[in-house]
Symmetry: C2
Subunit: 561 residues, 2 copies
């Protein structure tokens, strides 16, 4: 393992060679087709990207958080390396300390450009970002070999984030499709993307993804380690695993899911479950432990892994290998025993100034969700929680983006920092482009609903602007302010295709002759003219007369029983 990581340039050649196999690349539609009247703008000397939505009727434009990344770049070239200078500027210090992590700098009181970048995105003070990262309550996943990254922060005192999973498998998908899913998922709002590839070309696929990702990329390295030992879990060992970590850290992966909490003594706790162990990583390690009658090597060599992580500033996403795979198995001892172990490991990682988030379930009925958040906060010392859903029922395969958006919104409102999306294909197959979009939109809804519930400053501005546009029949503004303007407009067109309808002061629900919005305008006019006050006063008297005059409508409590 080199002491000073290679420069990402070395990988570019690789990327270009690969291109020969995958031309022509498919293209996703231009940004302004997905978001009419939106413009990408940049803020401050750090060129923080945002999307500005222009409105009609003299309304001020609305600026929203933007994850779409640089547009129109040839995937063979990869994105501009915007962080290269920031990283070089602190190389001397980092190498002297043997630690590149944002947490390390935060704890030394340094506010990095990455921290300032996140502060601008979240509309908070840079010092607040630094202090949250320093205490481990938030992380900025940012591998120094991923200079293309637009830094973002994950923590419960910031906007709730969402992750989209992509990746090919032994039976499906190509590199070109995965790059497209990366672009497509960030187009709709994915804050991070995990490459869960398990099939062929696993290294090359990841290279293409990282070089074209403006968002943090996460992986589950045990998948590739398993490929290296030809799928035989019992042949795994810490050296093969460390080699895999180095390979992926060199490529620029920003966070690793590491299932170091799957302890041998917890495995028997899963034997009576309805769905046993459903985490792939968890079951790989469980199999290894049982085959060798030894403790999980990721647990016994955890400090060695920490030493590697800090050299690249790769963040831990401590995996929940024993998460429940069904409502029946939710919140059982296997799950919570592992969670407590993840809490111990968090303390160890923090000893090395390595950033940590904690993965969570899975399948959990609504009444058991709060307990997950409470246990995680208590045992994992407020390290950010990152949950898959949770799905709130098992009976709707084909609609698990909805069964899980319910649980995701709830746990997000309770303090979960990032929500891993679930697509309609969950349990059934690999998501295609439409599934990825459906999953991302459902999770943007869950995350935003949670931000509203948490009272996040400014979160409601977009709701208010859209509702005002709705009330004033500014149809195009209503569409353009929505998460998916194209779909909103298409739905409106299905009933009222005519272009005038886009400015009409009625809709297909009530038709032109009667409209409740119109009535409200009358009420406002009457209020403005003072007429309403008169009526109100007059009616208070009338109402009193009415009640006194035998028109008694009030009954004593209990009279109806």
């Amino acid at each position: 393992m080199p002491d000073t990581p290679n420069k990402p340039e070395t990988t570019t050649t690789h990327l270009q060679l690969a291109a020969d196999d995958v031309t022509p690349l498919r293209k996703i539609p231009p940004l302004d087709q997905s978001f009419p009247r939106s413009a990408k703008i940049t803020v401050s000397d750090l060129a923080v990207p945002m999307r500005q939505i222009d409105l009609d009727g003299g309304e001020p434009s609305i600026t929203v958080y933007d994850t779409t990344g640089p547009q129109g770049v040839d995937p063979r070239e990869g994105l501009p390396k915007r962080r290269a200078e920031w990283i070089e500027a602190r190389r001397e210090q980092a190498e002297a300390d043997g630690n590149w992590s944002q947490m390390h700098f935060a704890r030394k009181g340094v506010i990095t450009p990455e921290m300032r970048f996140c502060a601008i995105r979240e509309n908070v003070e840079p010092e607040f970002v630094r202090s949250e990262v320093a205490r481990g309550r938030a992380i900025i996943p940012a591998n120094i070999n991923h200079p293309e990254l637009e830094p973002m922060i994950i923590g419960r005192n910031f906007l709730v984030k969402i992750n989209a999973n992509i990746g090919n498998s032994a039976v499906s998908s190509s590199i070109e499709e995965e790059v497209e899913k990366l672009q497509w998922s960030t187009r709709w709002g994915a804050d991070t993307v995990m490459d869960l590839s398990t099939g062929d070309n696993i290294h090359e696929t990841r290279e293409w993804i990282v070089r074209n990702a403006a968002v943090p990329i996460g992986t589950v390295p045990i998948y590739q380690a398993l490929e290296k030992v030809k799928g035989k879990a019992e042949d795994l060992n810490i050296d093969v695993f460390m080699d895999t970590l180095v390979e992926q850290a060199e490529q620029g992966v920003d966070y690793f899911t590491i299932h170091a909490g799957v302890l041998l003594r917890y495995i028997p706790l899963t034997a009576k479950r309805v769905t046993g162990i459903v985490s792939r990583g968890g079951s790989i390690l469980a199999k290894w432990c049982l085959a060798h009658h030894q403790e999980n090597f990721l647990y016994t060599h955890f400090e060695r892994i920490c030493e590697l992580m800090k050299k690249y500033d790769v963040s831990f996403s401590l995996g929940d290998g024993l998460r429940p795979g069904s409502i029946a198995d939710a919140n059982d001892e296997a799950q919570f025993a592992e969670l407590r172990t993840l809490g111990e490991l968090t303390k160890i990682a923090w000893k090395h100034d390595v950033q940590v988030m904690i993965e969570g379930p899975g399948h959990v009925p609504m009444h058991k969700i709060q307990e997950n958040m409470t246990e995680q906060l208590e045992h994992c010392h407020e390290a950010p929680f990152y949950t898959l859903g949770p799905l709130t029922t098992d009976i709707a395969p084909g609609y698990d983006h909805i069964t899980s958006a319910i649980g995701a919104a709830m746990i997000g409102s309770q303090g979960c920092a990032m929500l891993c999306y679930v697509t309609p294909k969950e349990h059934l197959g690999l998501p295609d482009r439409q599934d990825v979009k459906d999953g991302v939109i459902a999770y943007k809804i869950a995350a935003h609903a949670a931000d509203l519930a948490k009272g996040h400053p400014g979160a409601q501005d977009r709701d208010d602007a859209l509702s005002k546009a709705r009330f004033e029949f500014r149809w195009r503004d209503q569409f353009n302010l929505s998460l998916d303007p194209e779909t909103a407009k298409d739905f409106h067109d299905q009933t009222l295709p005519a272009d005038p309808a886009k400015t009409a002061h009625f809709c297909s629900m009530c038709g032109p002759h009667f409209c409740s919005m119109k009535l409200t305008q009358d009420v406002r006019d009457m209020e403005a003219s003072g007429e309403l006050a008169e009526i109100e006063q007059g009616m208070r008297e009338k109402a009193t007369e009415f009640r006194e005059g035998g028109g008694e409508l009030y009954v004593e409590p209990g009279a109806a029983e």
Copy 2:
């Protein structure tokens, strides 16, 4: 208004005449295409319908609640009049008392066939149904002129129900489409259906719907009353309204939305709202009140309305005409003032033994949902709550079935008795057949998630059966146990079309070479053989040695700070 309502037979002629205009009727697919390996069965002398799902692998079949109604009936003929005899059997008593309502009989200690029918559907004692109806905590909407009805109960101590809205408007849709939407929405699980037609043929459309409905039908009579005065709200009066109620009660409508809580003095409270008054009924009455400077005639003549309701056993759905239409307007004084008035009116209706449920919002952020449920329980004396969503954010037009399924699941778990669906077309247009299905499925998910959270007896059986099928790779069982087997199977086919894949012990997510489900089977085999116990014991010792031998992984609290 006749003292003894006509028999429904009289309407059949009307229906057949109408048929000439609408042939040929479109057909929805046969039941077994939507639900493979399901059989409709009936239970007890009352022939209570249920759907039995047969499974492979010697698993016991699962029986689920069934709303699909009699199949294969020509809509021109209408459904069999299964309740006719039950109704006739109590005619003498009802006419003697001048009261046909289920609440009236319940309070006299009588368990009607309708109550027994509901008890069997809900798997509870008939006496429990009677007592809940008697105290007003549950209702059985069942107009005596709707003998085609399969009775169902709405109350927070029963399964959470969902309503689907259909109905044409001035700008869209035909009778034939509405009958199809009725059949389609109940196919997927709608427990009640509201006909919100506002356009032409409003009477005829409703006739076709009621005669073909095995579920309760609700309407908002003010819409038709408004048509009778040519859309001029100020021309409305109690007599036109009462005529409309008689007309619809004669047809067999089971519940009426009545906006009697929109009081003149509450109207000014809406002037400062972002979206004012968004309820059509609410704005019609607000307009009338302002035009006449008089109190809402539905409020001042409420007892007269009660007298009519009890002659047909039409239930009140007291409308929330001042519900919020945006996140910004949620839980404001206009909304809660009206809610308290609906509580007063509930007491008056109960004085007449008339059944009542209370309508609720609308648009409410997650952190304000519980307050709605708490206020409703307190001020409306536990009358069933029936909410529209609520939508938890305004920013996702085109996806409001999801923004609202989140709120619906939450308020359902808190005690809301029925959830009015929202389709993806909400705010944008009238739902087509696919939108109706998408809305119903999203709400079946919300209602079931709520039933699980409430710990409803047996609610989890279907989840457990499906998860067991998933774990055992019984793909067909997994599909057939789901809310939408066709979609689940189609999604699976997209990645693994081959028929063998339906019995394959792997899926497209991990592929054939590594499967976590397989590992769990190994764990179970080892447990069965006692091998696991040995390992466990051995490992406890190893783990101890390890910790004692310097492999210390535990750090003192605070050590990482």
